[in-house]
């Protein structure tokens, strides 16, 4: 199977979907030059009509995506760093997440907001947030967090075909990672988890960038005789509760790894589900391995201390 970097898998996904449907358009700051490389070459291929570099105007861009989608286009709106979602948050939270429902379902809004999320690159607090908790709470947006080249491609292609708004949060620290990506159509259904490892002693749920260290931690745990299931939810809203509870039914133990700050994290949501619907299955406290409740620090030893790694996961 051909190996690809995540960034190229994303690039392929966008190109394939733009080839497939001429109503798919791409807007965002410097999508032509492409800061991360994920949109590289797309403007040359599809032209300046369908691929638009925008000014630095997040409030307008996020809203333009809503308007163009309401008027019949499928809009990929590239937000660069996830922190800039906050800058354009009104149109995301008050318009994109609400318009379809407020209108009694009389409109569909096919929008994908792509953003690169999370820390690990000493870019400090304003470039390192994982804002998925805020987005998950809106209730009107799919929230997707890929963890590998193949999941990035499959999820993004599904997101572009989705008739509702999706926020696609690519871990910024994982853009260069390689993985197997088969040729041809790959679609990962939204709202479905993947079980990446079948153990049976422990359910380890890991999100986005945390999947790799979780898999590493699972290897470490095996040395100690603990064989873990590792589940990647892939879609954070709506969550695939079934997959998690099914594993929990076998293991009775749950650890969730999330690179968001702890309070109101996806980890907390999953723990809350376990404490309710999975209560009878639990044989041990539900542990969350998350970021302490503070902005991400710049200096490497500080940043490293904040972001979960395999050691912290294994000891949870």
């Amino acid at each position: 199977m051909p190996r690809k970097r995540t960034i190229h898998a994303i690039n392929d996904a966008i190109i394939e979907e733009m080839e497939r449907d001429e109503r798919v358009i791409l807007i965002g700051e410097d999508v032509g030059s492409s800061v991360f490389g994920d949109t590289r070459g797309i403007r040359n291929r599809f032209g300046r009509d369908r691929v638009r570099d925008t000014p630095i105007s997040e409030a307008a861009i996020t809203g333009i995506a809503v308007g163009a989608a309401a008027a019949g286009y499928r809009v990929i709106c590239h937000m660069m760093y996830a922190n800039f979602l906050y800058t354009g948050f009104d149109a995301i939270a008050n318009q994109a997440a609400k318009l379809a429902t407020m209108s009694g379902g009389r409109i569909k809004l096919p929008i994908v907001y792509i953003a690169f999320a999370g820390g690990g690159h000493s870019s400090a607090a304003q470039h390192s947030d994982n804002p998925h908790p805020a987005l998950m709470n809106l209730g009107g947006l799919y929230v997707v967090a890929p963890s590998s080249p193949i999941s990035a491609k499959g999820l993004l292609k599904s997101a572009i075909r989705c008739d509702d708004p999706v926020v696609f949060l690519q871990p910024a620290s994982r853009t260069g990672e390689q993985g197997d990506v088969p040729e041809g159509e790959i679609l990962a259904p939204l709202g479905r988890a993947r079980t990446l490892r079948h153990g049976g002693d422990l359910t380890l749920v890991a999100i986005g960038a945390m999947v790799r260290p979780a898999l590493r931690a699972a290897e470490e745990l095996l040395q100690e005789g603990i064989d873990a299931d590792v589940i990647d939810p892939q879609t954070l809203f709506p969550l695939d509760k079934g997959a998690i509870l099914e594993s929990l039914a076998r293991t009775g133990r749950l650890v969730i790894v999330d690179e968001a700050r702890d309070t109101c994290s996806a980890a907390s949501q999953i723990a809350a589900i376990a404490a309710d619907e999975g209560f009878g299955l639990l044989r041990a406290p539900v542990r969350r391995v998350t970021v302490p409740d503070m902005p991400i620090a710049y200096s490497p030893p500080l940043e490293k201390a904040l972001i979960p790694d395999a050691a912290r996961i294994a000891s949870a």
């Binding site: 358009i25 807007i27 009509d49 369908r50 638009r52 925008t54 000014p55 105007s57 409030a59 307008a60 861009i61 996020t62 809203g63 333009i64 995506a65 809503v66 308007g67 163009a68 989608a69 309401a70 008027a71 019949g72 286009y73 809009v75 009104d90 149109a91 008050n94 318009q95 318009l99 379809a100 429902t101 407020m102 209108s103 009694g104 379902g105 009389r106 409109i107 209730g139 009107g140 947006l141 799919y142 292609k157 599904s158 997101a159 075909r161 989705c162 008739d163 509702d164 999706v166 679609l187 990962a188 259904p189 939204l190 709202g191 479905r192 879609t235 809203f237 709506p238 695939d240």
Partner: protein, 330 residues
């Protein structure tokens, strides 16, 4: 006015539409007083000439975004009257099934992308609709209505900039009714709003918003230019709202933010009455004919309101349909 006045049929159509909006909203005002409206309503009474003068140039394929004060735009753009009443009454038959209410009336099939509870929220949406229209190459245009208060939102300058750069078929129509909630415009907006287009190379017009023909004229130029690929325009229409910012405001405001004399004075320039008078003066409409139209409208409004008011409430089970689910996409 530089060019000729529109033909009789059109002027009568303008009048009919303005009077429809007026009568529909007077119905809502009395419904509000009677305690029949579950949520807040912001009435457009006094500003009818703006929506009607602009929307006379639009057809169903054209796109429009509106404000919290959105009934007039909705009706001017051809929205269904009864479905609007039903929506404001919170009924299952409402144009949004009772999900949106007064601040969210929308009809996407008619290019009405919705009233909006976020001040300035419709501006970027209209720019996006204009982008869609440009990509479509079917000479469609998009119009954003917004208030003087909304002009203070940064998104206006962002949209002006982008519309200028991309030469979007967009008309930004600012309805300056003198107040932003309870603040006079001059207290919250420096300078003249229509002057803000020029730095971006965008043409602007400032018009008498209570004169439907003046609005019609300026909008015609702007919309024509947009259809021909000539890019965006900013129109500032000077007008006045006769009712409060929101119905019932006197119950919660301690001090008056405008005097009764001011309102009375401005009511003398009532756009509906002034236009009616002009139709008679110019001989385009006779008193008889106008009365006939008005009676028709009275009946239409009364019937729509009455039947909508008898419509069923929505049932909570339908909420299920709005929950996002797995697997919808692929």
């Amino acid at each position: 006015m530089t060019s000729a006045a529109p033909a009789r049929a059109l002027q009568m159509a303008l009048y009919r539409r303005m009077a429809l909006i007026r009568k529909a909203e007077e119905q809502l005002a009395s419904d509000f007083k009677a305690g029949l409206l579950p949520g807040p309503v912001h009435l457009y009474i006094g500003q009818e000439a703006v929506a009607v003068g602009v929307c006379a140039h639009l057809d169903e394929g054209d796109l429009m975004t509106s404000t919290h004060r959105g009934h007039g735009h909705y009706l001017a753009k051809g929205g269904d009257l009864r479905a609007m009443f039903a929506e404001v009454y919170g009924r299952a038959t409402g144009i949004c099934g009772g999900m949106g209410g007064s601040m969210h009336v929308a009809d996407f099939d008619r290019g009405i992308l919705g009233a909006n509870g976020i001040v300035g929220g419709g501006i970027a949406l209209a720019a996006g609709a204009a982008l869609a229209a440009q990509l479509d190459r079917r000479n469609r245009v998009a119009v954003a209505f917004f208030g003087d208060g909304a002009a203070a939102q940064g998104v206006l300058s962002e949209a002006l900039n982008i519309a200028a750069l991309w030469q979007l078929p967009l008309v930004l129509c600012c309805e300056n009714n003198g107040y932003s909630e309870f603040s006079p415009t001059a207290a919250v907006n420096a300078g003249t709003i229509s002057d803000r287009a020029a730095p971006f190379g965008i043409p602007a017009a400032r018009v008498q918003g209570n004169d439907p023909l003046a609005v019609w004229q300026a909008a015609g130029e702007a919309i024509g230019r947009a259809r021909r690929g000539g890019g965006p325009t900013l129109i500032e229409a000077e007008t006045y709202r006769f009712h409060g910012h929101v119905e019932g405001e006197k119950a919660f405001l301690k001090e008056a933010y405008r005097s009764d004399e001011e309102v009375a004075e401005r009511r003398r320039r009532d756009p509906v009455l002034m236009f009616r008078r002009r139709l008679i003066e110019t001989g385009l409409g006779s008193e008889d004919e106008l009365q006939r139209i008005e009676r028709e409208l009275d009946d239409e409004v009364a019937a729509a309101a009455a039947t909508a008011g008898d419509d069923p409430w929505p049932v909570p089970d339908m909420l299920e349909t709005f929950v996002l689910r797995a697997g919808d996409a692929a």
